[in-house]
Amino acid sequence: SAVISQKPSRDICQRGTSLTIQCQVDSQVTMMFWYRQQPGQSLTLIATANQGSEATYESGFVIDKFPISRPNLTFSTLTVSNMSPEDSSIYLCSALTGTGVNEQYFGPGTRLTVT
């Protein structure tokens, strides 16, 4: 298993600014992912955070808006750039430990409100 923490847990930001969300795993993991979840809605995959290379983005998400870093096997960051109120959402990271097919561990999420 893996325990995942995220910082910050919540934030209120002004439009036009950027916020970097940190995701820390308590053990080395093979893969890490970033999701977005609107209140009351399902999760939408933003990107796969690749260690040592550029992230792989899903359709509708671009690197300029959501730059991602993954400097090692336990840590990743997601930046939400030039924020607008439409970016208000919960952002979650997850990790795949490799012990089970499709068994990902999720962080508690970062609740972002853009005013």
Partner: protein, 112 residues
């Protein structure tokens, strides 16, 4: 990745058995069926996974018929704390992307 269809919501009472069925008509040969549970203000949590027949763990059972075009998550004797959203996903163990694509999920409400 195969698409899944689940009921939007279900109601139950404490102590009852709850069965949530998921349809995945286009499931591929290599796909596994996985269920996640999400409580309010938390990230999803892996519950159970199977390929065929029946799988049981300390939390739930997963029933998969021979044609694998559907699956049923069974929660025995639910309690108020089982109120959550339950997601059914199918994924290919051979797909090196290991991406999880979440559907709409089933919102389970357990009443006293």
């Amino acid at each position: 990745l195969a698409k899944t269809t689940q009921p939007i919501s279900m109601d139950s009472y404490e102590g009852q058995e709850v069965n949530i069925t998921c349809s995945h008509n286009n499931i591929a040969t290599n796909d596994y069926i996985t269920w996640y549970q999400q409580f309010p203000s938390q990230g999803p949590r892996f519950i159970i996974q199977g390929y065929k027949t029946k799988v049981t763990n300390e939390v739930a059972s997963l029933f998969i018929p021979a044609d694998r075009k559907s699956s049923t998550l069974s929660l025995p004797r639910v309690s108020l704390s089982d109120t959550a959203v339950y997601y059914c996903l199918v994924g290919d163990e051979l797909d090196s992307s290991y991406k999880l694509i979440f559907g709409s999920g089933t919102r389970l409400l357990v009443r006293p």
